[in-house]
C-alpha cells in the first residue's frame, strides 16, 4: 500500500498541484474464482508518462492493463481514465475505450479486412468519420509506421513485424490519448522485434502516454519514465529505469533481473 509514495515524477517542484492523471488506479483487486490475480494495486499515470511493466508470467501485468480498458472487470477499487471512473455503465466503458488504444501480443488484426479497412472500421463506425477522411487518416498513420505500401493487402500477407505495426497504426487511427501495449514483441522473431520497438520509441518521443507490458529491457532503459515490477498480483517495485536496473531495492526484483539480464 506504499506504492503511492514511490512516484518520483509527481510534484517534483513542490507546488502541491498534481498534474492531471491520465490513469488513476486506487486499491485495485481482482480475483479469478479463488485466485487473487491483482492485489491492492495503486498506480497513477500522468499525461505523457511512459511506463514499462515487467514481471514473471502470471504476475498480473497483462491483467492490470486489460483492466484499464475493461477487457477485464475489476472486483474492488477504482480505475479512472482522464478523470472518468470506470463502472459497469456500457456508455462509460465505450467512452473510455475510445480514449485508449491497445496493441496485443498476437496483433489481433481482422484477417478478412485489408490493412486499410482494419484502420478505418473503428473511426467510421465509432466516430462517424467519412470514408475518404478516415482513409486519408489511415494512410498517414500507415506511413508513420512505415508500411504505406501494405494498405491494400490482407494481414495474412504481411510479416509479423508488419502486422504489429499495422495494429499500432489501427489503434492510432482512433487518436487515443493513452496506448496500452500487451507484450507487443513476444510473438515476433528476434530480428523483427527492433522494427516494432522503433515504432514504439517514435510514438513515445511524440509524447504519447504509454503503458507497456514488455520484457524488452533495452526499450525500458531508453524510453521509460518508470519501470514497474510485478509478482503474484502485486506491484513489488517502482523506479526510474536507471535506479531500477542499477540498484533494485527488492530481493525479488534482483532475482528477476538476474534471470532476464545476462
Amino acid at each position: 500500500m506504499t506504492n503511492l509514495d514511490e512516484f518520483p515524477r509527481e510534484d517534483e517542484a513542490g507546488t502541491g498541484i498534481k498534474p492531471p492523471a491520465a490513469v488513476e488506479i486506487i486499491g485495485l483487486n481482482k480475483w479469478y474464482g479463488a485466485y487473487h490475480a491483482l492485489h491492492d494495486i495503486d498506480l497513477r499515470v500522468v499525461t505523457g508518462e511512459r511506463i514499462v511493466i515487467c514481471g514473471p508470467s502470471g504476475s498480473g501485468k497483462s491483467t492490470l492493463i486489460r483492466c484499464i480498458n475493461r477487457l477485464e472487470r475489476h472486483d474492488q477499487g477504482s480505475i479512472s481514465v482522464g478523470g472518468l471512473e470506470l463502472t459497469d455503465d456500457p456508455k462509460r466503458v465505450q467512452a473510455t475505450r475510445r480514449e485508449i488504444g491497445m496493441v496485443f501480443q498476437n496483433f489481433n488484426l481482422f484477417p478478412h479486412m485489408t490493412i486499410l479497412e482494419n484502420c478505418v472500421v473503428a473511426p467510421m463506425s465509432v466516430k462517424k468519420i467519412a470514408r475518404a477522411q478516415a482513409e486519408e487518416l489511415a494512410r498517414s498513420f500507415l506511413a508513420r509506421v512505415r508500411i504505406p505500401e501494405q494498405a491494400k493487402k490482407y494481414p495474412g500477407q504481411l510479416s509479423g513485424g508488419q502486422q504489429q505495426r499495422a495494429a499500432i497504426a489501427r489503434a492510432l487511427c482512433m487518436s487515443p490519448r493513452i496506448m496500452l501495449f500487451d507484450e507487443p514483441t513476444s510473438a515476433l522473431d528476434p530480428e523483427i522485434i527492433k522494427e516494432v520497438l522503433d515504432t514504439m520509441i517514435a510514438l513515445a518521443n511524440d509524447g504519447m502516454t504509454m503503458l507497456c507490458v514488455t520484457h524488452e529491457m533495452g526499450f525500458a532503459r531508453q524510453i521509460a519514465d518508470r519501470v514497474i515490477f510485478m509478482d503474484h498480483g502485486r506491484i513489488v517495485e517502482t523506479a526510474a529505469p536507471a535506479n531500477f536496473f542499477a540498484n533494485p531495492q527488492q530481493v525479488r526484483t534482483r532475482q528477476f533481473l538476474n534471470q532476464i539480464l545476462r
Binding site: 480498458n69 475493461r70 477487457l71 456500457p90 465505450q94 475505450r97 475510445r98 485508449i100 488504444g101 491497445m102 496485443f104 498476437n106 489481433n108 488484426l109 481482422f110 484477417p111 478478412h112 479486412m113 472500421v121 473503428a122 463506425s125 465509432v126 493487402k153 490482407y154 494481414p155 495474412g156 500477407q157 504481411l158 489501427r170 489503434a171 482512433m174
Partner: protein
C-alpha cells in the same frame, strides 16, 4: 430388364415440374433456416438463461426426432389441435425448422471458433457488440460455415423427398405418380436419382466457388 428411355421422354413435363418444386422448396427453406439458425445461435450464446435454454431445447428436439416423424406431427397431429395446414405449407415449415436446428449449431460452433482476440480487439477500438458481430465475427464465421453448410444443403435436398408422403408434388411424388400410371420404376427412379445427384453436385460446386470468391483473404498469399 429393359430400360425404356421413351417413358422418361413422354413424362418429362411432370418430372420437370416436380424437380422445379423440389428446387423451389429447398431454395426457400434453406435461407429461412439459416436466418433462424443465426438467431438461435445468438440466443444460445447471449440470450440469458431463459432464451438460451429455449434455443438449446429447440435444437435438441428437432435434431433428435426423425424428419419423417416431424412431418407427420405437423400434418396429422396439428389438425387435432385445430390447425390444418396444406401439404406445401407443412413442407416449408418442416424443412425450414430442420435446417434451422442444424444451422444453429453450425453458426454457434463457428462463432465460438473465432479467436477471442478478435472480439477483444473490437472492444478495445471502442466498437459495440452489434458492430463486432456484423463487421468482425459473422464475416469470418462465413469461412467456417461454408463447408459444413454444403452438407446441410445436401441433407436438406435429400430430406425433401420425404415430403412426398404427405402429397407435396415434388420430384419423388411426381415420380411415384408416373410409376403408378406407367409401371416403369426402373426408368423413373433412375432418372430422379440422377436429377437429385445433379442438383447436389451443383450445390457442392457452387459452395466451393463461393468459398474462393467470398473469402479472398483466405487465398491471398504473401507476395513479399
Amino acid at each position: 430388364m429393359q430400360f425404356d428411355v421413351a417413358v422418361i421422354l413422354d413424362n418429362w413435363q411432370p418430372l420437370a415440374d416436380g424437380f422445379a418444386r423440389t428446387i423451389g422448396i429447398c431454395t426457400v427453406s434453406l435461407p429461412i433456416g439459416f436466418i433462424l439458425g443465426v438467431a438461435l445461435a445468438l440466443l444460445r450464446l447471449h440470450g440469458g438463461l431463459v432464451f438460451a435454454t429455449f434455443a438449446a431445447a429447440y435444437v435438441e428436439l428437432l435434431r433428435n426426432i426423425p424428419f419423417l416423424t416431424q412431418v407427420f406431427l405437423l400434418y396429422f397431429v396439428l389438425p387435432e389441435f385445430g390447425l390444418r395446414l396444406s401439404p406445401l405449407v407443412v413442407g416449408f415449415i418442416a424443412l425450414s425448422a430442420y435446417a434451422s436446428a442444424y444451422a444453429a449449431e453450425i453458426v454457434r460452433g463457428a462463432i465460438l471458433s473465432v479467436p477471442a482476440g478478435q472480439t477483444e480487439a473490437g472492444y478495445a477500438l471502442g466498437l459495440g457488440y452489434a458492430t463486432i458481430l456484423r463487421r468482425i465475427l459473422l464475416p469470418q464465421v462465413l469461412g467456417y460455415i461454408l463447408p459444413t453448410s454444403t452438407n446441410l444443403a445436401i441433407g436438406l435436398i435429400k430430406e425433401s423427398a420425404v415430403l412426398s408422403v404427405i402429397t407435396v408434388p415434388e420430384l419423388t411424388y411426381e415420380a411415384q405418380d408416373i410409376i403408378g400410371r406407367t409401371f416403369s420404376p426402373v426408368e423413373i427412379f433412375t432418372i430422379i436419382a440422377l436429377l437429385y445427384w445433379g442438383l447436389t453436385a451443383l450445390v457442392s460446386t457452387l459452395t466451393k466457388w463461393l468459398e474462393i470468391h467470398l473469402q479472398p483473404y483466405l487465398t491471398a498469399r504473401r507476395t513479399g
